[in-house]
Symmetry: C2
Subunit: 74 residues, 2 copies
Protein backbone atom coordinates (compact mmCIF):
# COMPACT_ATOMS: atom_id res chain seq x y z
CA UNK A 1 0.00 0.00 0.00
CA UNK A 2 1.10 3.56 -0.55
CA UNK A 3 2.77 5.06 2.52
CA UNK A 4 0.35 7.21 4.57
CA UNK A 5 2.18 10.41 3.63
CA UNK A 6 1.85 9.71 -0.11
CA UNK A 7 -1.18 11.17 -1.93
CA UNK A 8 -3.48 8.35 -3.11
CA UNK A 9 -5.58 9.72 -6.01
CA UNK A 10 -7.35 6.40 -6.59
CA UNK A 11 -8.35 6.14 -2.95
CA UNK A 12 -9.48 9.78 -3.02
CA UNK A 13 -11.58 9.14 -6.12
CA UNK A 14 -13.39 6.27 -4.36
CA UNK A 15 -13.87 8.36 -1.21
CA UNK A 16 -15.45 11.23 -3.09
CA UNK A 17 -17.76 8.83 -4.98
CA UNK A 18 -19.24 7.35 -1.79
CA UNK A 19 -21.83 10.07 -1.05
CA UNK A 20 -23.19 9.80 -4.62
CA UNK A 21 -23.61 6.06 -4.00
CA UNK A 22 -25.38 6.74 -0.70
CA UNK A 23 -22.59 5.10 1.32
CA UNK A 24 -21.86 6.90 4.60
CA UNK A 25 -19.64 6.20 7.60
CA UNK A 26 -16.34 5.78 5.75
CA UNK A 27 -13.74 8.47 6.43
CA UNK A 28 -10.79 7.19 4.44
CA UNK A 29 -10.02 4.95 1.48
CA UNK A 30 -6.60 3.79 0.32
CA UNK A 31 -5.98 1.53 -2.68
CA UNK A 32 -2.98 -0.71 -3.21
CA UNK A 33 -1.75 -3.92 -4.81
CA UNK A 34 -2.11 -7.44 -3.50
CA UNK A 35 -0.06 -10.37 -4.73
CA UNK A 36 -0.77 -14.03 -4.03
CA UNK A 37 2.24 -16.27 -4.47
CA UNK A 38 1.99 -20.08 -4.65
CA UNK A 39 4.98 -21.41 -2.76
CA UNK A 40 6.57 -24.80 -3.52
CA UNK A 41 7.13 -26.47 -0.15
CA UNK A 42 6.97 -25.05 3.38
CA UNK A 43 6.79 -21.35 4.24
CA UNK A 44 9.93 -21.67 6.35
CA UNK A 45 12.34 -18.87 7.31
CA UNK A 46 14.39 -19.30 4.15
CA UNK A 47 11.32 -19.12 1.90
CA UNK A 48 10.02 -16.06 3.74
CA UNK A 49 13.40 -14.34 3.36
CA UNK A 50 13.23 -15.03 -0.38
CA UNK A 51 9.74 -13.53 -0.57
CA UNK A 52 10.73 -10.51 1.52
CA UNK A 53 13.54 -9.89 -0.99
CA UNK A 54 11.11 -10.26 -3.90
CA UNK A 55 8.59 -7.93 -2.26
CA UNK A 56 11.12 -5.21 -1.55
CA UNK A 57 12.77 -5.33 -4.98
CA UNK A 58 10.09 -6.24 -7.56
CA UNK A 59 6.58 -6.25 -6.09
CA UNK A 60 6.72 -3.03 -4.05
CA UNK A 61 8.52 0.29 -4.38
CA UNK A 62 9.91 0.80 -0.85
CA UNK A 63 10.34 4.54 -1.49
CA UNK A 64 6.58 5.15 -1.67
CA UNK A 65 5.00 1.86 -0.59
CA UNK A 66 4.74 -0.21 2.58
CA UNK A 67 4.15 -3.96 2.27
CA UNK A 68 3.20 -6.87 4.50
CA UNK A 69 4.03 -10.53 3.86
CA UNK A 70 1.34 -12.89 5.14
CA UNK A 71 1.33 -16.68 5.04
CA UNK A 72 -2.09 -18.11 4.23
CA UNK A 73 -2.79 -21.82 3.94
CA UNK A 74 -4.62 -23.05 0.82
Amino acid sequence: MLKPEILDPQGQAVLTALPRLGVAGISGVRQGKRFELDLDGEADAEALARIEHLASTLLANPVIEDYVVRVEAD
Copy 2:
Protein backbone atom coordinates in the same frame (compact mmCIF):
# COMPACT_ATOMS: atom_id res chain seq x y z
CA MET B 1 -8.44 -10.76 -6.94
CA LEU B 2 -9.13 -12.03 -10.41
CA LYS B 3 -11.12 -15.28 -10.38
CA PRO B 4 -8.85 -18.34 -10.83
CA GLU B 5 -10.23 -19.05 -14.30
CA ILE B 6 -9.43 -15.53 -15.54
CA LEU B 7 -6.03 -14.99 -17.22
CA ASP B 8 -3.83 -12.71 -15.08
CA PRO B 9 -1.21 -11.14 -17.40
CA GLN B 10 0.34 -9.07 -14.60
CA GLY B 11 0.76 -12.11 -12.41
CA GLN B 12 2.18 -14.05 -15.38
CA ALA B 13 4.67 -11.23 -16.06
CA VAL B 14 5.95 -11.40 -12.47
CA LEU B 15 6.13 -15.20 -12.59
CA THR B 16 8.22 -15.23 -15.77
CA ALA B 17 10.56 -12.56 -14.32
CA LEU B 18 11.42 -14.63 -11.23
CA PRO B 19 14.09 -16.89 -12.77
CA ARG B 20 15.93 -13.83 -14.14
CA LEU B 21 15.93 -12.44 -10.59
CA GLY B 22 17.24 -15.74 -9.23
CA VAL B 23 14.06 -16.38 -7.24
CA ALA B 24 13.00 -20.05 -7.24
CA GLY B 25 10.31 -22.06 -5.46
CA ILE B 26 7.30 -20.01 -6.54
CA SER B 27 4.88 -21.76 -8.87
CA GLY B 28 2.15 -19.15 -9.21
CA VAL B 29 1.64 -15.41 -8.92
CA ARG B 30 -1.65 -13.53 -9.02
CA GLN B 31 -2.02 -9.76 -8.69
CA GLY B 32 -5.09 -7.89 -7.50
CA LYS B 33 -6.33 -4.77 -5.76
CA ARG B 34 -6.47 -4.09 -2.03
CA PHE B 35 -8.55 -1.36 -0.45
CA GLU B 36 -8.24 -0.14 3.11
CA LEU B 37 -11.35 1.66 4.35
CA ASP B 38 -11.39 3.77 7.55
CA LEU B 39 -14.73 3.11 9.18
CA ASP B 40 -16.47 5.64 11.44
CA GLY B 41 -17.68 3.67 14.48
CA GLU B 42 -17.94 -0.08 15.06
CA ALA B 43 -17.57 -2.75 12.37
CA ASP B 44 -21.02 -4.10 13.23
CA ALA B 45 -23.29 -6.16 10.97
CA GLU B 46 -24.87 -3.07 9.43
CA ALA B 47 -21.48 -1.50 8.61
CA LEU B 48 -20.23 -4.76 7.12
CA ALA B 49 -23.36 -5.04 4.96
CA ARG B 50 -22.69 -1.53 3.70
CA ILE B 51 -19.10 -2.44 2.86
CA GLU B 52 -20.12 -5.70 1.18
CA HIS B 53 -22.46 -3.63 -1.04
CA LEU B 54 -19.67 -1.16 -1.81
CA ALA B 55 -17.24 -3.97 -2.60
CA SER B 56 -19.61 -5.78 -4.95
CA THR B 57 -20.73 -2.66 -6.80
CA LEU B 58 -17.78 -0.22 -6.90
CA LEU B 59 -14.54 -1.76 -5.65
CA ALA B 60 -14.70 -5.14 -7.39
CA ASN B 61 -16.14 -6.45 -10.65
CA PRO B 62 -18.00 -9.59 -9.52
CA VAL B 63 -18.01 -10.95 -13.08
CA ILE B 64 -14.23 -11.44 -13.13
CA GLU B 65 -13.12 -10.77 -9.57
CA ASP B 66 -13.52 -12.42 -6.17
CA TYR B 67 -13.21 -10.30 -3.05
CA VAL B 68 -12.85 -10.77 0.70
CA VAL B 69 -13.87 -8.24 3.37
CA ARG B 70 -11.62 -8.36 6.43
CA VAL B 71 -11.92 -6.30 9.62
CA GLU B 72 -8.54 -5.16 10.93
CA ALA B 73 -8.09 -3.05 14.04
CA ASP B 74 -5.97 0.11 13.77
